[in-house]
Homo-oligomer: 416 residues x 2
Amino acid sequence: MLWTKTFIPTIKEVPQEAESESHKLMLRAGLIRMLMAGAYSYLPLGLKVLNNIQRIVREEMNNSGANELLLPALQPLELWQKTGRDKIIGEVMIRFTDRRGRNLCLGPTHEEVITDLVRQHVSSYKQMPLILYQIQTKFRDEIRPRFGLVRACEFIMKDAYSFDADEQGLDKNYSVMHEAYKRIFKRCGLDCLSVEADSGVMGGKVSHEFMVPAACGEDIVLVCPKCKLAKPFKEEKVLCPQCKVELEKVSTIEVGHIFKLGTKYSASLGANFLDAKGVLSPVIMGCYGIGVSRLVATVIEQNRDQQGIIWPKEVAPYDVLIIPLEITDGPIMEKAKELYKLFGDQGLKVLMDDRDERAGVKFKDADLIGIPVHLVLGKEFLKSGNLELKLRRSGEKFSFSAEEVLNKVKGSLDGK
Amino acid sequence: MLWTKTFIPTIKEVPQEAESESHKLMLRAGLIRMLMAGAYSYLPLGLKVLNNIQRIVREEMNNSGANELLLPALQPLELWQKTGRDKIIGEVMIRFTDRRGRNLCLGPTHEEVITDLVRQHVSSYKQMPLILYQIQTKFRDEIRPRFGLVRACEFIMKDAYSFDADEQGLDKNYSVMHEAYKRIFKRCGLDCLSVEADSGVMGGKVSHEFMVPAACGEDIVLVCPKCKLAKPFKEEKVLCPQCKVELEKVSTIEVGHIFKLGTKYSASLGANFLDAKGVLSPVIMGCYGIGVSRLVATVIEQNRDQQGIIWPKEVAPYDVLIIPLEITDGPIMEKAKELYKLFGDQGLKVLMDDRDERAGVKFKDADLIGIPVHLVLGKEFLKSGNLELKLRRSGEKFSFSAEEVLNKVKGSLDGK
């Protein structure tokens, strides 16, 4: 992609409305723009990152045997009344009456809808285990939206639901999901803690939260400074039973939450199955959420420096940024175009900064938007034919001949 | 994918609530389920088709130089008041007040939001032409939702917006989009008419609708039986000026609509730019919509027979359906698994019907769900080692040795 042909409106000034570092960087790097508090537009660069995260989530869910579907945001309130959650969830759920007089809501989650669907189609233990998931836009009437994509009124979730004939099946699926989550967050470039948690409005007995340490995090987790054991924060002083040291308070952002629901929803909505002995029982369920759009902000919280974002490889909107320091016709632009084509043909995702801007502006924006590998063609190229390669994360710079550059770029990307 | 590991709830009986053939088939083939009138869940098979259509749309939009972004569904009503469209669109727009007292709506389209975004970031003729698009979920308070995905309250649209410094630029972008639309509908396996149309609530001067002839279509188009010239229906008797024959009335479904908007939105929202002479003028806009979820139903309207759906190659949820007629361990299942792996390794999308069902049930479901190539392993295989290949569209059957099968399957898919 050529910079002049896409839409990356970077900003020099630090936006005043942004409270967290990730929010500031997302605005400055032209990833998102606020339409109103709690509702954001993803610009091309931000959408690419969002899509990369979705791709990682999809791959890990599919590899775990989960099947993707897509459920409506518009839901009949009636379904929520059957489980009593219309009251429990309360005002955070957006509700309205349509022209036909139907009481509707915008689903903040989908346990009711999926259980009702499975109720109609799963009637035997032979049809289970079954894991269904979706990546879908959810809505909350959030009274204090904050930190950009971290706490928004409209956001993207991955929600998965498991259906089993017995507790052993649920235990197995729960552990499969737990492992998938660890892989997802690792691939996103995150250090993530898994913490036993309360089940809250979801109900059920066992649940784990996935918490990412971050300065702007609003959830406190206790962490052992030695072995990294993590516990929910309930009291001030807790000693790690292994290391015999006091756990430390860490601010974190919740990026995932998994629950053993049991039969809470299947019992109230009548999702029953016949077991091997011919006995009718409610299906045993688990549910598994990931805050997909929130992850974009969280990845930035943990992958940045004073100059800007440092994208982990799998999340980066582009692999390589080519920076020609002269854009008029001549040897620099000729070589830049040649490399742009070469990299594209090799399957690399390339952005070229073909703007008519000073070198300083281009370098600053390059560090700000955080593409892993920068390739500079400037005076050095005119003199010696050499290109300068910069690794955004380490800041290391290398000088190469044009012939070597493809191997060097590929090697740099593989090394990350 | 193994049939027993996914979720394809086919139905033998014709669903009573469905009025159109595509709606019946989508329910029977396990593509969608109704949550309530106007709101549908996409089950795994339906979501794959939807994603294939989205992929085609994306490829053609990106190849046309358009940049993808993603705008919020939640919008401040204030923005709609500025263009006066809150009144023009009326009750079909879902509106509510949130806990903070904000007057919000769910965007049935995004001219206001995108113009407001571009207003903030485009200030010079040098930043244009620019085409931005999204594939996004939209909402309408539809008083009579009908025909499943054809007229729904929640649906997926591709909406693109072009921004130009002069009328020539708009003309060029309009024609680029017109050509992209023709390619998109062709790749979806559709015969589609392009018809000059009224601009309606969008405003602007010139617009074209893309209309697909279908029995359940609610829009009448006049078509010349000889040269296929298409005109909007305004009066009963119109003669084709070329062929000198009377145009015929054809029922159609609208799948796309493109508009030369001019300065309607940029003028009322203040999206101005400086031209080459330093004069400040409102940006010249076009907008370009495709009903993405509606396309799923429309493709079926034109690609089906008495037995079920016949997917065009690029839209099909899978390329090949392997049908082993014995699922107990033995030579049939052994070979079926071997082919399943072989095809998968070759990059083909394979579904295997490993259900414990009678041959008749499997054949009926195979025709119903409409995967292009069926591969049957039954008695003939046990006798001679031969497999039966059936082409869903023509119904032709061929018998091959297992060694030949990969080439034959690939050849069949390429020939479509």
